[in-house]
Symmetry: C2
Subunit: 396 residues, 2 copies
């Protein structure tokens, strides 16, 4: 039998691991939420189960007489309880990223504490046990518009669990939930950023690290809508700080697999050089790295598989001067494949990636990548293709 | 539901269609020879059946209450009887390439007759109904070494069904087989070629054609061992003849899908320009096009799916100055994945493609692709990686 990688989560991130797994001859076994999930449609060995069930996850990694034991367990999301991970490790199957690393992607309070200890630039932040603490934080860090960002420490993604507030009453129900066992809260200053950046890297258990170029990410309503690789016009000083922060996090937290570090680029004061502060972490392939499928020698999905298997990492070099990835968030079409003719007919170089998901408003349904020498052209083409997949009429 | 492409054949060619199908949101349904074939390991909807069974192929394309009807039927090999194709067309499912085109990839006599009529450069050839005909062909076209090439019109692949002979007795059993309903025979002059070339293109039902650069192919014992894209030092005059021949075949035979035209490059006489003669055709993704996965904007596998669905074709431009694909033919390893660490550790840019097949001597088990600016370096790296996967010790 061949190498077996077990993956928790049946979304598009697990789906996009399949080409790399197929090429490397790695057998993927994916725990899916149901038979019609994005990954379940294209993965042969895709048992249905719950990430919170130790029995389901143990069954995933241990296999049986017909299905070989997994060489490693990894994830496409962070929502796996620590006790489930502990049970897998106790059964002798490596968990990568390990539970100690993963805690930092699961709990923003743990992450902020550790990053601060590591000297990684963070926004001003504080744990918020009650309304009085938030009032104090608002008073200290409210900034010119009197706003701060409140986050649930756990359970958030794609803008969920994040709220920009002016008064503690705006998160009253989060306080109520926290009081009865819901996620704890933290507050962060609302960073006056120039733009958003992301650093994506992969790290093996041996410590080898491979870093893709720093990218610019564009968010719409808290959801990634576009990624430009590399980040245009990035100051070399800022780039160094960004890369150093990501590297320090990877090593400091003993991350294995792909790590995505989302950052705010901030202007320098008094004409001095700018800098970054770290916003969020993810320890898995990430939307900010989808451009690597078409735009880099080694994609984030292949690199994640290599990293969690402790195989030497691939070359993360870009394959074009510019790569732009545009997300398809929602669509007015009945099915996205109906737009394929128009998309690929308008642009022979557009690389289309559909996730096989049912269409819902704002949902991540796919993305388009375009590579080329002229950034304005590449960006316009990626946006136009994504717009056509959203069902919007062709525009100039 | 989404677009559905039905494919006959469960080998590595169907396997390598899966990344493109996944990206485009196309559902693949593949008729496989058994559950452990190369494609069956990675295709969710992979019924077991026989390409020669009209019932099995009709079941593949028509589906049932649970499985939607296919939008088109295509193939990863040519071994499907005409009556099976006719039954599929009668059921209203398009067959691409169509049976009339596919005949030319199934029967070398039909191919030679039609190509000769189209004015495509061919070697001297003749149908060989009996030993006397072969004796006459040997006398006329035996060349300096007195040899000619005898082929079975049907059923050959990878050097099988092809024999270089000096006397008609050397194919005595083929005559005997032909006399009792076995494949007819033809003879061709043994072309004194400089090297072998291949032209790969895709053509839609609408007539749109996209052509990849002419490549050089290297054979070992009748099996492709290496492909260099583009063909180094190709004379512009020869290139034009090669591209024109392939284009004329595609249009003249009304090919839909990917067409591979294998050619011999021949020297000019008296210092004049060289030329090509056509050796073989394949109407499906082909070993000479595996380099396109990593080396071209659009791979042959994606292009084949687009062409048979009559979607606009993708950009076939190369993504690097040089791409070399080296086949892994047989291996002394117990499993190829055991060599992954050594291969990717030695070369972070080597693109490894394993087919998930049981190891047998000489069998096509995978390939490695390397892209770069320096041909000698790229070729050496591709060969070294393939050698490691064959289980050979590292060499300088």
């Amino acid at each position: 039998m061949t190498l077996v990688v077990a993956v928790v989560g049946g979304g598009q991130l697990a789906r996009m691991m399949t080409p790399a797994a197929t090429a490397l001859g790695i057998h993927l076994r994916v725990l899916v939420e149901g038979p019609a999930t994005s990954a379940a449609r294209v993965v042969v060995d895709a048992p249905v189960g719950a990430p919170r069930s130790a029995a389901d996850v143990l069954d995933l990694v241990l296999g049986d007489a017909e299905r070989p034991r997994a060489d490693v367990l990894t994830f496409e999301h962070e929502h796996i309880p620590a006790e489930v991970l502990a049970a897998v490790e106790a059964a002798g199957v490596p968990v990568r990223p390990g539970p100690d690393a993963l805690r930092h992607a699961q709990d923003k309070l743990v992450m902020r504490e550790h990053l601060t200890a590591l000297g990684v630039p963070c926004p001003a932040w504080a744990p918020i046990p009650d309304a009085a603490a938030l009032d104090a934080f608002l008073a200290a860090h409210g900034g010119p518009d009197g706003q701060v960002v409140v986050k649930t420490a756990r359970g958030g993604y794609d803008g969920k669990g994040v709220r920009v507030v002016r008064e503690s009453s705006e998160v009253a129900e989060w306080f109520a939930a926290a009081a009865v066992g819901g996620p704890a809260l933290l507050a962060e200053e609302k960073v006056p950023f120039v733009r958003e950046l992301a650093v994506l890297l992969a790290r093996r258990p041996s410590g080898e690290v491979a870093v893709w170029p720093v990218v610019e990410t564009v968010q719409a309503d808290g959801v990634c809508s576009e990624v430009v690789a590399p980040a245009p016009g990035l100051d070399a000083h800022v780039e160094r700080i960004a890369l150093d922060a990501a590297r320090r996090i990877a090593d400091g937290l003993d991350v294995t697999g792909v790590l995505a570090v989302e950052m705010f680029e901030v202007a320098g004061t008094g004409g001095g050089p700018g800098s970054v502060v770290v916003n969020e972490l993810a320890m898995r392939p990430h939307n900010s790295g989808h451009w690597t499928i078409d735009g880099a020698v080694t994609s984030q999905f292949e690199q994640h598989l290599r990293a969690v298997l402790d195989l030497p990492l691939g070359d993360p070099s870009p394959r074009a001067a510019w790569t732009v990835m545009s997300n398809v968030l929602g669509s007015s079409l009945d099915r996205l494949t109906d737009a394929l003719h128009a998309v690929v007919g308008a642009d022979a170089g557009a690389r289309v990636h559909l996730y096989g998901k049912d269409i819902r408003p704002g949902r991540k349904l796919g993305h388009v990548t375009v590579c080329g020498d002229d950034l304005a052209d590449v960006r316009a083409r990626a946006r136009a293709a994504a717009a056509t997949l959203r069902g919007e009429p062709a525009h100039g």
